[in-house]
Subunit: 362 residues, 2 copies
């Protein structure tokens, strides 16, 4: 059994130990990241049923070989709809109270399952209990995230060489994603954001056919997925020397970002980090220009809990991986965002992203 | 108003005309493809509320500028949770019966909304009515899909030049996605599948660091997203002359694929096309090796209805865009899949994919 298998067994044990408290005889896991977390399966159609003593895994015939080779569980390969097979196993094993991921399950799926239940069986909504456990990363997971972050920064460094006037936003995105793949990433963790000039004032701009010109700002928000684990980084560069006002805007956002990184430590709330960042933005009269939250957890998914927003009362703990990414967006002119992936530690945090936060001039 | 805006108005009109039959005063649309279909919005957090006479659009401040500039609707930009704002508008407008996308909405979202409803208001599950309309593509949409398919084939052709022994599966995936971007695609429509040798027997293999060797099979399943519309193609190539048995396997799958294409026409069921393909596979004793369905609709999403599986009773209609993609997977040896994107016409179909289906030898 590989160390990853050992870890999967531990996770299952921890979750199974909570069944009684959840008033459930089994948990049905259907969200793909949670299925991966509890089985190692990375395909698109897998279900895990966890009881106090057993793990069942369900998939379709496309994944037959993968499942039987790699998944340590009772594997059921089902042609057609999988739900009836799950209910059949539940019935056979007398799993009367079936916990389900209510934050993930579609209303129609819920209804179909409910209508298919034998008499005396019930569905128990369990919310996001697996996501909660996933907030705390193991040493292995931290290592994976670290590698993903380093790969992402290396892809950025290699791509910088190709950025010059005349190159299109789309070319930059293509180059970055190509470099990620070359370096061994499975895929980008999200659609790479490449936004030049005033386009950068849209926090989630899609890359376009716009050609970079001399003296233009370029915002790059990129992340890789490596071994299933995500990285996330934003940098802003400038073709030619940036004008003074832009440099001031950059420095204000950088000050907020550094203050955020400095505030992170085990024991304070996610919301508190957001407040610290927001107060620096306010000092620079940029609070209204900062239109999103300060950051988010990441791991098997690019957006995980906690969310570092005003209201988030989650207490940060050592072993959480989060982003710190304030931004200021001025319609028609420019957007600046600076983002690192950081690891919460007992006394503070470790900034995993090695890329310099100087305002790079190309 | 651009022609796209005219089309969006038509779609809204058609859906709004069904409100009475659905026993709803309004429809709340939350799935991103459906939101895009009814508003043009391509961001990640948008909601449409459609009444008999009005369209409301809800998003968060990140998309403020985009929404106010591009969306023809009453735009609400909401900080924090959007649901309460939607309910507020529903209350103000006396939209007592709120239709919701029950095939898409999560159980917890449903519960939150239900708990927030004013007295006398109710939620009405409406299933997949927008997906049903989306099956039939307009002339504009067909043109978009055609362009996406052509771009995808061109990216394939350009990437072929780089495929040779020593190149890794990941390099091939990176090259293909880079070429897509260069040609103007926003992104791959799905994670590009690159599977060499026995790896090709996994129908949904992820590209790995495996280096191609001489005399190896390579399966490439790729699609682009262009203007929001997807393409999908699978081809199998061989480094060096393929052995006779592999050529026989290829020819059998090709025969099934051509039979499938030949069977497609308006008026027959999706399931019938699957049967035709499956019977050719059976003739070659490959029915057990054909572990998935024959194809699927595509458009704003890579997988749309209909699904060309055994049970699908959907009657094909002119204007549907679908894939025809039989495959045979022999564990430990090889997998062959051949896939085109085709357009259903009154008398048959038009194969949109221009790439040759010869067994290409590099």
């Amino acid at each position: 059994m590989t160390s990853n298998q050992t870890e999967i067994q531990q996770r299952r044990g921890d979750i199974a130990a909570r069944l009684e408290e959840l008033k459930a005889d089994a948990l049905l896991i259907s969200s793909s990241a949670n299925v991966r977390y509890l089985s190692g399966f990375s395909g698109s159609n897998g279900f895990v049923v966890l009881t106090a003593t057993e793990t069942h895994f369900f998939t379709d015939p496309r994944y037959d070989i993968e499942a039987r080779t790699n998944i340590s569980a009772k594997v059921h390969v089902v042609k057609g709809s999988i739900t009836p097979k799950i209910l059949e196993v539940a019935k056979r094993k007398k799993l009367k109270r079936i916990g389900f991921e209510s934050s993930w399950t579609r209303f129609d799926e819920y209804t179909r399952m409910k209508d298919g239940l034998p008499l005396g069986f019930s569905l128990v909504p369990v919310g996001r209990i697996i996501e909660e456990r996933r907030m705390l990363k193991s040493a292995n997971e931290i290592e994976q995230i670290r590698r993903s972050v380093l790969l992402n920064s290396e892809a950025f460094a290699r791509s910088l060489k190709r950025i010059r006037p005349g190159v299109r936003e789309l070319d930059v995105a293509g180059e970055i994603e190509f470099q990620m793949k070359k370096l061994g990433a499975e895929k980008p963790a999200f659609e790479t954001i490449i936004a030049a000039g005033a386009h950068s004032a849209l926090p989630h701009a899609h890359p376009t056919g716009h050609k970079l010109s001399a003296n233009e700002l370029l915002l790059i928000d990129m992340g890789a997925s490596l071994g299933g684990y995500c990285s996330d980084m934003t940098r802003v560069i400038h073709l030619g020397a940036p004008p003074k006002k832009l440099r001031e805007l950059y420095n204000a956002v950088l000050e907020a970002q550094l203050a955020g990184v400095n505030a992170v430590r085990a024991g304070i709330t996610a919301g508190r980090v957001d407040q610290v960042v927001r107060s620096v933005m306010k000092k620079h009269k940029l609070d209204k220009a900062f239109v999103h939250s300060t950051g988010h957890g990441l791991g098997l998914e690019i957006h995980e809990t906690p969310r570092l927003g005003r209201m988030d009362q989650t207490i940060l703990q050592a072993g959480m991986a989060i982003t710190i990414e304030p931004g200021a967006y001025i319609d028609g002119w420019a957007g600046i965002r600076i983002e690192d992936t950081v690891l919460v530690t007992t006394n503070g945090c470790e900034v995993l992203t090695p890329t310099s936060k100087e305002f790079v001039t190309l």
